[in-house]
Symmetry: C2
Subunit: 224 residues, 2 copies
DNA sequence: TAGCACTGATTGTTCAACAAGAATAGACCC
DNA sequence: GGGTCTATTCTTGTTGAACAATCAGTGCTA
C-alpha cells in the first residue's frame, strides 16, 4: 500500500490515485479541518486537475468515510459526531481486541508495532503531537495486521483515519494522545512477553478509557 | 440503506447513486459474471449515462471491492481468488462471531434474522438458489446488525457481496447454499433460545465448513 | 415578520476532444 | 514454426466547456 502520511507518491502511475493520496494527506494533517466545505472549483484549481477527476477522487474518499457527500451540496471534510465516535470505538473493540486475542505469538508484523511505539515516544518527547497521532495509528494498524487479512486492515484503516478527524475536531491532540503512548507499549509488552489474551484485555481497557476521553473532550467542546 | 437486490430506487435523488445501485444489482444477480471486463463506452451507452458519471460509480464500486480497477486497463468484475476467499472468511470469523457472542439477548434486529431464515427456506423449497443466496446474505448481515454499528455493517456488507461473487464464480449455488439454510436456523435458535455464546460457537463451526466447501469447489474448478 | 420570487453560486451531468497506455496484427528475422 | 519488433488500433485517463438542476441568500410584498 502507498505511504499516505509522508508525501511520497512514487508508485502512483496516474494522476488520480496520487490525487487521492494528496487529499488524504491534507485531511490527516489537519489542514482542511473537519467540517470544511470542499468546493469543487476551488480544489480543482488548487490541485491543478479538472473537476471531473476531482469528483472521482471525492467518491473514493467518500467511501472511505473521510468526506461527507450530500447530494447537490457537495462534499465536506467528515466531522464525526459523538454518535460516530461511539460507533468507531465499537468497531475498534470488535476488531482490534479480537484480532489481538487470536494472534499467533511471534507474528512478523509485531516488529511494526514496536517501531510505532518507539516513534511515538520520540515524537512525544519532541512535542510533535501530530506525529504522535500518526505513530499511534501505525501501532493500531499494526495490531490489526496480525490478522493477516487485507480486508480487515483496509476497513480498519479507514475507521482509524476517521477517528483522527475526530481528534482534530476537538483540537486536544496532546491531551488525548499523551496517556496512550505508554499504554501502547504495555499492550505490546503483554503481547510479546505474556499472552495475546492478556494483551487483548489490556487493549480493551485502553479503548474504554480512550473513548471516554474523546467523548469528554467532545462534551466540553459542546460538539454534537 | 437502499434495497439493493430488489430494484427499488425511490430514494435516489440523483442519477449517479441510482447508477451504483443498478450496477450492484447486476453484479449481485450474476449477470456480468466475475472477471467480466467492463468497458466504459459500452456500459455508458447501456445505462445511458456519460462516461464520466459511470467512472464515478466505478470508483465507489472499486472501494467496495465489487470491481477491480487496474490503471490504464479499466475495471472488471471482481473475481475472488482462493486467497481472497480465505481472507473473506477470516473477516467473517472475526466480525460475525465476535458480534454474535457479545450481542444482547433480545435485540430488536433479531427479527430480521428470523425473516431471512424463513425467506431462505421458502426459496430453497422453490429451487431459487439465487434468492437463497440473497436471503443468506440478509441473515448474516442481520447477525452483524446486532452490533448496532453502522460501520461494521457497511464493511461487512461489502465483504459479503464480494463473497457472493466467489459463489457465482464457481457456479455451484445450490450445492454451496443447500446445507446452510438449516444451519442458519440453528444459529438463530441458539441465539434466541440458548445463549449468544453458544450461537457464536455454532456459527464458527458453520463458517469453517462453509469455507471448506467453497475452497473445495474452487479446487475442483481449477480456479486460482 | 412570514412568506415569496429573484438572483447568484455550486453541484450534477453531458459531450467532444486529445494524450497516453495497452492490445492486436503483421512484418520480419532466425 | 517460433519469436521479436513495430505500426495500427482500441481503450482508458484527463481536460475544458457547456447547460440543467438545486441550493443559499436577498430583498420585496403583504
Amino acid at each position: 500500500m502507498v505511504e499516505t502520511a509522508g508525501g511520497h507518491y512514487d508508485g502512483d502511475v496516474n494522476h488520480e490515485s496520487s490525487l487521492v493520496n494528496r487529499l488524504t494527506d491534507r485531511l490527516i494533517a489537519g489542514e482542511l479541518p473537519p467540517g470544511t466545505r470542499l468546493s469543487e472549483a476551488a480544489l480543482a484549481k488548487e490541485f491543478d486537475v479538472s473537476r471531473n477527476t476531482l469528483r472521482e477522487a471525492f467518491r473514493v474518499l467518500g467511501e472511505q468515510g473521510l468526506v461527507d457527500h450530500v447530494p447537490n451540496r457537495g462534499v465536506s471534510v467528515a466531522s464525526p459526531s459523538t454518535a460516530d465516535v461511539i460507533d468507531i470505538y465499537r468497531v475498534r473493540r470488535t476488531i482490534e481486541c479480537t484480532v489481538l486475542a487470536h494472534a499467533p505469538r511471534n507474528h512478523p508484523r509485531a516488529a511494526d508495532m514496536l517501531r510505532a511505539v518507539e516513534e511515538a515516544k520520540a515524537a512525544a518527547e519532541a512535542g510533535d503531537w501530530l506525529q504522535v497521532g500518526t505513530s499511534n495509528m501505525k501501532f493500531h494498524n499494526g495490531v490489526v495486521a496480525l490478522s493477516d487479512s487485507v480486508r480487515l486492515m483496509r476497513s480498519f484503516g479507514n475507521v482509524l483515519a476517521e477517528l483522527r478527524l475526530a481528534f482534530l475536531k476537538v483540537e486536544l491532540l496532546d491531551f488525548l494522545h499523551a496517556p496512550f503512548v505508554e499504554r501502547n507499549e504495555e499492550v505490546y509488552s503483554a503481547y510479546v512477553g505474556d499472552s495475546p489474551a492478556a494483551a487483548s484485555a489490556l487493549l480493551a481497557n485502553y479503548l474504554g478509557d480512550s473513548e471516554r476521553q474523546v467523548l469528554g473532550a467532545y462534551a466540553r467542546a459542546g460538539q454534537g
